[in-house]
């Protein structure tokens, strides 16, 4: 139970994670300044977070709509029928191996897995669903939804609001 090891350290860790979740490119010196700690503490904490598998990667949020690159994002609801010895984890492990699969979530409610796919064309998505996903023994049915526009992604608004405050106020 890490929480009981040191509340202060834990608080620094939480704050550090909250900052780099939004900006993983922030420089270490600056990170140390705004956290009010030494740079070496930040370096050590980041190394620990990486080795503990808490930090799993440093990605970039790209608004592909503003580029010439064509991307199609599809959300696929998957209903499963489970067999003895083959739980959700087994089938999810299998689906996640496809490189075109971006995310796989186990979902409560009307269906079992949410598979998020990113491909270049609609046809590629269709091929994946019909040839690879639907043909798995455990898959009962699928429902595919295409993303038409992203307004907000990973907690970030894709269009920025201007500062409308007066320049000087008491």
């Amino acid at each position: 139970m890490r929480y009981f090891v040191g509340k202060v350290k834990n608080k620094m860790r939480d704050e550090l994670l909250a900052i780099i979740e939004k900006n993983s490119r922030i420089d270490l010196k600056e990170l140390a300044i705004i956290l009010g700690v030494e740079e070496i503490d930040v370096v050590n904490e980041l190394a620990a977070l990486e080795s503990e598998g808490i930090i799993c990667g440093y990605h970039t949020l790209i608004n592909w709509e503003k580029t010439d690159v064509e991307k199609v994002t599809a959300l696929i609801e998957v209903r499963l029928t489970l067999q003895r010895g083959q739980g959700f984890d087994t089938i999810a492990d299998r689906i996640k191996k496809y490189p075109e699969v971006r995310s796989v979530y186990l979902i409560s409610g009307g269906y079992d897995l949410m598979v998020i796919l990113e491909e270049k064309t609609l046809r590629q998505v269709a091929t994946f669903v019909s040839d690879k996903l639907s043909t798995l023994d455990q898959v009962l049915s699928t429902a595919t939804h295409f993303v038409l526009k992203k307004y907000k992604d990973h907690g970030t608004n894709m269009s920025e609001d201007p500062d409308e405050r007066e320049m000087i106020t008491p």
Partner: protein, 391 residues
């Protein structure tokens, strides 16, 4: 034609901030570090509650004192945060921002000739409100070497037999100074000795970065002589909703309610419904914003140290108050040149009282990116000034 104007009003100086505002407004591409309000939007669940109240057609007056539910939530909040107990029916008045509470609080307590002690640098409205209420304002010049805290000695020296009220503006705008429990205990003794009343403007109470805020009303014997003023603008980023409150002895609140009833009727109904939601479910929002302010505060303190600019470390509000006396010019000259030469707008310390001379108010209610850009320009500016001085 006769002179249509009141001599008392004409004699009041317009806010020093206004003058600088007019200069800044001309420069569209300037980076401003001049605002006294949060850069966060009001949390969505709070806005949503305001919108919902409109949809439900809750567009009528509330009672003069404000929604009962809101007064109850305020009492719960003050108990939760400060350990204070107030009666929601007789000891709370919902006002149009903390500003209204300052105005009507003074009007309810002042008789002609009473003296009101105003520690400065501080918010711009205490002095004119005291004058309009018929009081004689008496300034106490706070000092940088005391981190702009009010000391018992300074208080004692300013008291005469006419002194009735001490205004206590902490955490402070523009200095960012706070008063810790020990500081408050020292002045409480003087207040009790001279039988004074306190108007404690605690609008920045949620924005302290070391320990949690202490209200003077928490100290023994002080609650019955203190009007505590707070509001939603700073804690919940709700400046435009115009909502504050006063809590205090019921005789004072009753008289304040009378003025409020005739001048205002009631605070905006939509804002009151939104504020109930803020108090019920907004504690996490405060933590989130305070954490961000604290990061920026640390960044600015570090930047000033690197530049070699003298600045005491402020533990409250969202301002730093660096000293620019080494450059041998007035705050206003410095701010004007900084604006013209590097396009960064800050507010001269003199806008908050004459003793703010030699200081600047810099607000960190801005994103880190913006602060970084502005600090780069300020550094360039003072490097140039230091070179000029050498020649």
């Amino acid at each position: 034609m006769r002179n249509p104007l009141s001599d008392k009003v004409v004699a009041i100086k317009p806010s020093g901030i206004r003058k600088f505002f007019d200069i800044v407004s001309e420069m569209k591409d300037a980076i401003s570090l001049g605002v006294g309000e949060p850069d966060f939007d009001t949390p969505w669940h709070v806005r949503d509650e305001g919108i919902y109240s409109l949809e439900k057609g809750r567009t009528f007056y509330t009672s003069n004192s404000g929604l009962k539910e809101l007064r109850q939530e305020i009492c719960r909040y003050l108990h939760r945060k400060q350990g204070l107990t107030y009666d929601p029916l007789t000891q709370v008045l919902i006002t149009v921002g903390g500003s209204e509470a300052i105005d009507i609080g003074l009007r309810a307590m002042i008789n002609p000739g009473d003296e009101v002690l105003i520690p400065q640098p501080s918010y711009v409205s205490y002095e004119p409100c005291a004058v309009l209420a018929g009081a004689t304002p008496v300034m106490i010049n706070l000092k940088a070497e005391n981190e702009f805290r009010l000391t018992a000695k300074e208080l004692e020296e300013a008291i005469t037999d006419k002194t009735k009220i001490l205004i206590l503006p902490f955490p402070n705008n523009p200095t960012g100074a706070i008063m810790e429990r020990g500081d408050l205990e020292a002045i409480a003794e003087v207040i009790l000795k001279h039988d004074l009343f306190v108007m404690s403007d605690e609008i920045y109470s949620e924005l302290t970065y070391t320990d949690k805020h202490v209200s003077i009303a928490e100290l023994p014997g002080m609650q019955e002589r203190t009007v505590l003023i707070n509001g939603f603008s700073k804690a919940y980023a709700m400046t435009g909703w115009r909502l504050g409150y006063a809590c205090g002895p019921k005789e004072i609140i009753r008289q304040m309610t009378k003025i409020h009833q005739f001048a205002i009727m009631c605070a905006p109904t939509t804002s009151q419904y939104a504020a109930v939601e803020a108090l019920k479910n907004g504690d996490d929002d405060i933590v989130h914003m305070r954490t961000a302010y604290n990061q920026r505060r640390r960044y600015l303190m570090h930047a000033f140290r690197e530049m070699g600019l003298e600045c005491f470390e402020p533990y409250g509000a969202f301002y730093v108050f660096p000293c620019i006396k080494e450059f041998g010019m007035t705050s206003e000259e410095f701010a004007t040149r900084l604006l013209e030469e590097e396009k960064v707008a800050v507010v001269p310390g003199t806008a908050f009282g004459d003793c703010g001379e030699g200081f600047l108010r810099i607000s960190y209610a801005y994103s880190l990116e913006k602060l970084k850009l502005a600090m780069g320009r300020i550094e360039k500016f003072i490097t140039r000034l230091r070179e000029e001085q050498k020649q």
